[in-house]
Chain length 320, copies 4
Amino acid sequence: MMKRIAVLTSGGDSPGMNAAVRAVVRTALYHGMETIGVMRGFEGLMDGDCMTLDRAAVGGIIHRGGTILRTARSERFKTEAGQRAALVQMENRKVDALVVIGGDGSFRGALELEKKGLPVIGIPGTIDNDIAGTDVTIGYDTAVNTALSAVQKLRDTASSHDRLFIVEVMGRDAGFLALEVAVSSGAEYVVVPEIQLDIAKMCDHLHYSRKRGKTHSLIILAEGVMSAHELKNRLQDTGGYDARVTVLGYIQRGGSPSSFDTVLASRMGAFAVESLLEGKSGSMVCSICGQMTLCPLEDAWKSPKHLNPELLALVEKLSV
Amino acid sequence: MMKRIAVLTSGGDSPGMNAAVRAVVRTALYHGMETIGVMRGFEGLMDGDCMTLDRAAVGGIIHRGGTILRTARSERFKTEAGQRAALVQMENRKVDALVVIGGDGSFRGALELEKKGLPVIGIPGTIDNDIAGTDVTIGYDTAVNTALSAVQKLRDTASSHDRLFIVEVMGRDAGFLALEVAVSSGAEYVVVPEIQLDIAKMCDHLHYSRKRGKTHSLIILAEGVMSAHELKNRLQDTGGYDARVTVLGYIQRGGSPSSFDTVLASRMGAFAVESLLEGKSGSMVCSICGQMTLCPLEDAWKSPKHLNPELLALVEKLSV
Amino acid sequence: MMKRIAVLTSGGDSPGMNAAVRAVVRTALYHGMETIGVMRGFEGLMDGDCMTLDRAAVGGIIHRGGTILRTARSERFKTEAGQRAALVQMENRKVDALVVIGGDGSFRGALELEKKGLPVIGIPGTIDNDIAGTDVTIGYDTAVNTALSAVQKLRDTASSHDRLFIVEVMGRDAGFLALEVAVSSGAEYVVVPEIQLDIAKMCDHLHYSRKRGKTHSLIILAEGVMSAHELKNRLQDTGGYDARVTVLGYIQRGGSPSSFDTVLASRMGAFAVESLLEGKSGSMVCSICGQMTLCPLEDAWKSPKHLNPELLALVEKLSV
Amino acid sequence: MMKRIAVLTSGGDSPGMNAAVRAVVRTALYHGMETIGVMRGFEGLMDGDCMTLDRAAVGGIIHRGGTILRTARSERFKTEAGQRAALVQMENRKVDALVVIGGDGSFRGALELEKKGLPVIGIPGTIDNDIAGTDVTIGYDTAVNTALSAVQKLRDTASSHDRLFIVEVMGRDAGFLALEVAVSSGAEYVVVPEIQLDIAKMCDHLHYSRKRGKTHSLIILAEGVMSAHELKNRLQDTGGYDARVTVLGYIQRGGSPSSFDTVLASRMGAFAVESLLEGKSGSMVCSICGQMTLCPLEDAWKSPKHLNPELLALVEKLSV
């Protein structure tokens, strides 16, 4: 009979993590269980930096960006000793199971604990959407809207000054964020890791659209390809273009979660707790076609996740 | 061989309609076709109130709320004479096919034209999400976020004054908007047309949560159930509660479309044109599990569309 | 030598009140004093519903709407007995002075305490800007921007449907909010308590602008004149116009404070504490031409505060 | 008798420029005059790149960021030949006077035309607020709020990861934007060109606040001091701090103008036209204590404009 669960956030923070924590706590309470909040991810887990989260502790956090549990990256936890220390802390507190909110790196850590006997469920939280097995991750929709809103502001200046702008967005090694923002901002070009960049072809396009009267253009660049300054230099060298550069940076990680992310986080948090109650472990909560389901934690990094080719085609069709 | 298509927006406006119009025009151009924009929905169709939309005409509209083609409701078009007048206008302009962006009422009109020989594809655009056959409609995600943002502001005042607030949101006869906002705002209660309201039970809950120390509460009410003032009176009569009332009203229809709605509208617009090119007609563009597909126009109103019971349960679990 | 001050928020909440509380607490600490936060305004003052506010207690509240101290209206405090009870609470806690954040009603209460011996400084916090003696009040700039943002959304729908919209905004008996929003939204008309409404003339204008091709219009109505529904009926009766109505309501009170309001609140909070340290009492902090200064509390309600006639003229000049 | 005026925007674009253009056009019409819009600043003036702006041409632009007239920097206009060419274009079009919206560089150009006989009025439009003679410039309030909103998002991530963040904001050689954002974001430090930076002292403060338990800090850096990367390196070298860097960049220039900027721009545009009608020239429109007035164009760059020392003190008092 499960009586006490723990929850932690790990890796890069993403908007909606707090809504997930709230859902874990309240669903646990609904089913008669208690929740321990672990601070600073696996670091705090090894240190026993914990506190009981009651109803009130998660009141008013649903819309807050970041994570009230804080987060950290931990080298120490990658060692056998670190993992043992974490398990001891959980045993001492009579914790029956753990919910880990984070990305694939966090799930690798979670899996080690699972193998050593602690029931674990993962919730995918990252703005990069680069976790296979689930259609979407918590924070992605908010980050896309934050980036879109920034790009719209840049469009004002780009069109006022007849300029070429390069906007570097996040996404780690994947182009999900860049591609979605490119379509929704009506950008002229998108550069993603999944597609080989042909600078000469891009310069030809720019040349052609200038000739047709287009006075400004936007290029959305995924950070996983190269830095915006490098792309600027290559456009200068190859085509003589003088682009302006903006690196959106960490603002993409913050802000109140969108309605979509808040609902997703709430559903995932509740589903994680109820999966633990059903005896599930070693799994990640997935959203597939709008339904909550489980898949093995390994799926997060073992299977590849592909960009939608329809969206890639759209950027070209709609912007020219 | 298709050379010229027409596009119109009809019924209530919704954010993203302009992005859909842009996608129709640019995709048509991409495939060597011309697009005629019809003003004021079926009214303008009968009057021949049209203009050619070239690349530049749809530049800069992707993020604008409302519809540059304007919209109207038309009684005249429901008559045989009205429909004939519309067809004559289309013939005179050598229009080969029509794209109708709107809700189920608009699709009924579109189907009449289709039966009389004009190829027609519908694109579901309404903030109410009350169109069966498609998971989502253009404008719904934006409206949900607009309503959420308003409810968050009300929460500030509700918690500062220890008050009970009723917020009436749109949705026509359906509770999609109300339910999603209730989950994402962390509202204590949601009242939707699909579920019988039990005022006595709600008052019991309010009483119980007051006793447990909850000093303020939010009720999200779908307009399809009753007016916020009526609910206020019933809460007063049954439980002696003095609720404040806010009717969000038309602001839910406006604003820049969210990234999700802009991408959805862009994909649907492109898919509509390419479906016409493939000889399809009498169909509506649907988004099913993130994929674009077609279904018969009649599906928009013939099949029922259900609320997600998981979300209904979440409101209760997470807010108490 | 002053050692302990108290702070409360009273009347309607307004965005920026928390920033003012934070500034009071931190400035007091900077000068070696302690701050007691009083809950629920004068109600909590009489009940001794207080807590010490240390540095951490006001961390992270600078951007939060509403007031963490909550607020209430109190009939009991208008009595001699109520005021005596409040003074006893302050004496028991060895409070040397009180900062009251609120509107003119709150300052009347504050003045009674001052007359009975407790040093008091008032900080003008209300979205209505209807306090004489100060150019601006905390929350006004935020409320104006919130209302503007809502009106912009309505404009989308108004222009898409060729409609006449009436938007009722707050402001109590004054037209400051309505007038500023009318100018910044480019509204066609503004109706404020300070200017006699001539319905027949407004209908003439509407008729004239329709004839000139204007397809939609916005009327901004201050709540102090009449309800939006009443104005709608009068436009129907006098000119046959069918207007849509939106009452913005309490959303105008919430939300994160704008930069202007946050800076204003921070300056006023610091200035209030430092004025008390200089032995000042019975005064309100005023912002005059961007400088912080003091005026007697009575000025808040004794002197009239006038609308800027230049803005009234602008609405007519720029919108026609 | 004045019959036709011209208007142009020059230098960096700023939010509210379009509202000013609208006000110029509509006020001119109100007084029976016609307005010519000049594209791309002084470049377009020399080339005669103009168009008549009627009522409809400025409909719907009041809330748009950037400038519909576009803007450019011009070396050619600094020459006698360039200025002569501009005057010939104005004479050919029978333009009686010119309104120049921009910063001090633009006003230097405007003054040359004035000396050669063309009546000119300047309107201060820049997000930097670095123009003496006026309390505020068009776009400053919006840019401050845009930057604040970005910094709030960074705060989410900073506090979740226990990090030190440096945020570089615009402002050219002045610290107005940085200082206001530092106060309104509750930043721990502000670095502005007007105050000598003491890196050792900043490191001491950081050390002290870490010891007191502060886990994260924000430094707002004005671009006029050094780059964020340079400051990062200096903090690393002097105190061993590992700061994260964000350069807000061009997003600060874009977006819908705030209510304050829209009202300011509307008033300044109307006042410029009416000043020309009264025979004024060689002047800039100023906002002094909320009143519109005129000062010589030279004041824009001849007199120094000082930071408010009260705000500098506030950053220290309130954040520690």
